[in-house]
């Protein structure tokens, strides 16, 4: 057995100072310190998280440039990356209350979109869309169960629907 005497910061005290969460939430990794070393408490852990999260920011900026390529190919992706790097930097200059407020609204639009998308996607599988308004109203389709619908909505499979698809996406 290891000897923990003298290392009173390993376990939350029964009373007294607040242990969880402390100024740095990395210091709350008690078990890491138990089995390894106190040196691992903050620095290497922060470094690992920092490096991994640093990679996410450019990753998502490149993703944003890719999303913009959906509309226009004529603009260099570098331009979009520079443009979309500005708002996160500005938001992070605010204090944490403002930042949290902004992040809350950004997240709320994601949540609402996703709930609507799931609801409408299920309806779409029941053939509610621009080309298949409701079940049975379009002569291109038979009323088929949901799972069998997958693959029917395809430019390749049904040439009669080609004109409704995006011109760029016509694959022969």
């Amino acid at each position: 057995m290891l000897d923990y005497s003298g290392r009173d910061d390993f376990f939350p005290p029964t009373s007294g100072r607040l242990q969880f969460p402390c100024q740095s939430s990395f210091e709350s990794f008690h078990w890491l310190c138990c089995w390894l070393d106190l040196l691992l408490k903050a620095f290497p852990l922060s470094l690992g998280i920092d490096i991994s999260e640093m990679l996410v920011v450019p990753n998502k900026l490149i993703a944003a440039a890719d999303y913009m390529a959906y509309w226009t190919d004529s603009v260099d992706p570098k331009v979009w990356i520079v443009i979309y790097a500005i708002p996160p930097i500005i938001f992070n200059l605010f204090n944490v209350r403002r930042y949290g407020e902004i992040e809350f609204w950004l997240t709320l639009q994601k949540v609402i979109t996703f709930v609507l998308l799931i609801a409408y996607g299920l309806l779409m599988a029941m053939q509610a869309s621009a080309i298949t308004p409701w079940s049975g109203t379009n002569s291109n389709y038979e009323a088929v169960p949901c799972a069998a619908t997958a693959g029917n909505i395809s430019c390749v499979a049904s040439p009669g629907l080609n004109r409704t698809c995006h011109e760029k996406y016509l694959v022969t």
């Binding site: 920092d50 996607g121 395809s154 995006h166």
Partner: protein, 138 residues
């Protein structure tokens, strides 16, 4: 289960493994809540509540998204297959493709705007975590 790259049982294993690797990236980011723990009010009450909420939301959103995509998009879709072999081909995400296949390019535009907002939100959160992790590095 569909075969991917290879044939037979090996192909099914490859497909499963490819999907697993993609899914891992979707789950990255839930640790952000631990970083914010030092700056919230009443952390003992709010953090466990938030963590439970995250688990419920992930179950709902991811399973819902997989259901919607699986029902509306064919796995043998020509664009999906082409996007695997040709990375320069204009493929802008499964949800946009789903909207286009349903004949609604305007819905595809809307979903693309929302995906753009999501990317900005994630970069915003990651920048926050980066700054805080650098701040606590000592």
């Amino acid at each position: 289960m569909k075969e991917f790259l290879l044939g037979g049982g090996a192909g099914r294993l490859t497909g499963f493994w490819f999907a697993c690797c993609q899914a891992c990236f979707a789950y990255a980011g839930v640790e952000t809540i631990a970083i914010t723990a030092s700056e919230v009010e009443r952390p003992r009450q709010t953090i466990p509540k938030a963590v439970r909420r995250i688990a419920n939301r992930l179950n709902f959103y991811y399973i819902g998204a997989i259901l919607v995509l699986g029902v509306n998009l064919s796995s043998t879709d020509a664009i999906l297959e082409k996007s695997l072999s040709d990375s320069t081909f204009g493929y802008h995400g499964s949800f946009v493709l789903m909207a286009q296949r349903a004949g609604m390019p305007r819905l595809g535009d809307f979903l693309n705007v929302m995906a753009l907002g999501a990317a900005l939100s994630i970069s915003n959160a990651s920048l926050y975590v980066t700054v805080r992790a650098a701040l606590y590095m000592r």
